[in-house]
Amino acid sequence: MSTPMNETVLFQAIGELDEALIAEAAEPMTPIPTDYLMELTPKQVKPPKKGLILRRALIAAAAVLLLCGLAVGMFAILHREDPGVSSEKVPLCNTDDLEEFVAHWQATHAEQGMDFLVVPVCKTAEFTFIRATENEYNYFYYFMPADTGSDLPSVPPSLYDVGIIVTLSKSKGSYAGVLDQFGLTDRGGKAFHAHGDQSKIWYINYDGYCLSVRFFNPRLLDEPEDFSTVTEFFEFLLFTEDNTPMLPELETGTALPTTDIP
């Protein structure tokens, strides 16, 4: 461990930084927007005076392309064969796929310093608990058993149809504590409640599936720069790398909840 003297040296070194840096931070900071949904609205910036028409034309073209993409995506989704609820049809419900998922996440997001927990739930997977600490990120994988006589009897059976629960955390707690943070032991039906003052839950319900993303890590909750938009974040969660939907019944365009779930 470092000694107190070392700590003081670093503290004092900050006092010797360039005056330009120090001057920049002299004034009180300005409010930082925290509402994710603001990311979905047009940025409140003044349009440039020059090239405005070209800019608008480019935006319009991009919007058309986006709509076309969405239409194609919708078509692909709606014409998928209904796979039902089985581990085969939910890609995250076996160990290999999960690891791929984690690897993908790590490759695309770990550099941003994001820690997370991944909790896939399905009917057929056996209960396993793996904690990987091969790098500075901790990954916790939980496979929930399907039968109600399991280690988690308080989880409503209906929730075993949950395709995936993803929770972002820097948890150092025990297994039980982690589950408690998920709210798996004390929730009922689809009504999730916030856990502690740092919790916020986003959720999307679809027939037969419920995807909930529970944020209790304020680092992500209050730092939308980790993703450009909420949509981007959910798209990442809901689609594999080749844009295959992870949840077959997923429909795009569903509005996200705008407030915490009470």
């Binding site: 470092s2 006092g15 930084l17 840096l21 931070a25 900071m29 310093g113 890590n217």
Partner: protein
């Protein structure tokens, strides 16, 4: 009065420079001193010492950012006063800040072994310049100006936990940066 005019007064050895400095920056300097010393009397002493030091330093120094120049002096003075008055016992805020910063240090870090003590300042400077302005200001508001978390939350409109988390992330980045630069290794 503009900073450049105040500095000219310093160069002319006109004591109006001190009055103008006190008028323009006195209250802000007091805030910094009070944050660190947690003592009104000590803070007042630091402010006066800072004016004196500025008087002795300008000229030859010609600071581009007068307030930053004064802030560096008063921060240093406040830390020195703390050590003298409290017989090496640091105040609550300095303990708090140094503890937070200790997370940035590699476990094997030992600055006593460092040949060039300016290296860490250079690394710190490069690290901060590489950050986004918002993050950089947050870091310095906290660790240079010793602004309490609650105050930072009030300024930014974020929760205190969010501020804590952002600072944590910055310290983590700094830790990695220090390790890469071989600080203390």
């Amino acid at each position: 009065m503009e900073d450049t005019r105040i500095i000219e007064l310093f160069f002319q050895r006109d004591e109006t420079a001190l009055r103008e400095t006190a008028s323009k920056y006195g209250s802000r300097l007091s805030v910094i001193a009070r944050s660190i010393t947690e003592n009104e009397q000590d803070a007042e002493e630091c402010v006066n010492d800072t004016y004196l030091e500025a008087w002795q330093s300008i000229p030859p120094a010609r600071p581009v950012h007068l307030f930053a120049f004064l802030a560096k002096i008063i921060r240093h003075n406040a830390l020195s006063v703390c050590e003298k008055r409290h017989a090496q016992k640091r105040t609550g805020i300095t303990v708090e800040l140094t503890q937070e910063l200790s997370e940035c240090l590699p476990d094997t870090c030992d600055f006593a072994k460092m040949d060039d003590s300016t290296h860490i300042r250079e690394v710190l400077g490069r690290f901060l310049k590489a950050q986004e302005s918002e993050a950089r200001r947050l870091f310095l508001r906290r660790y240079f100006y010793a602004v309490p978390i609650a105050q930072l939350a009030k300024e930014t409109g974020l929760s205190e936990s969010a501020i804590t988390a952002r600072l944590y992330r910055l310290r983590e980045k700094l830790r990695v940066c220090l390790e890469k630069e071989g600080i203390g290794l």
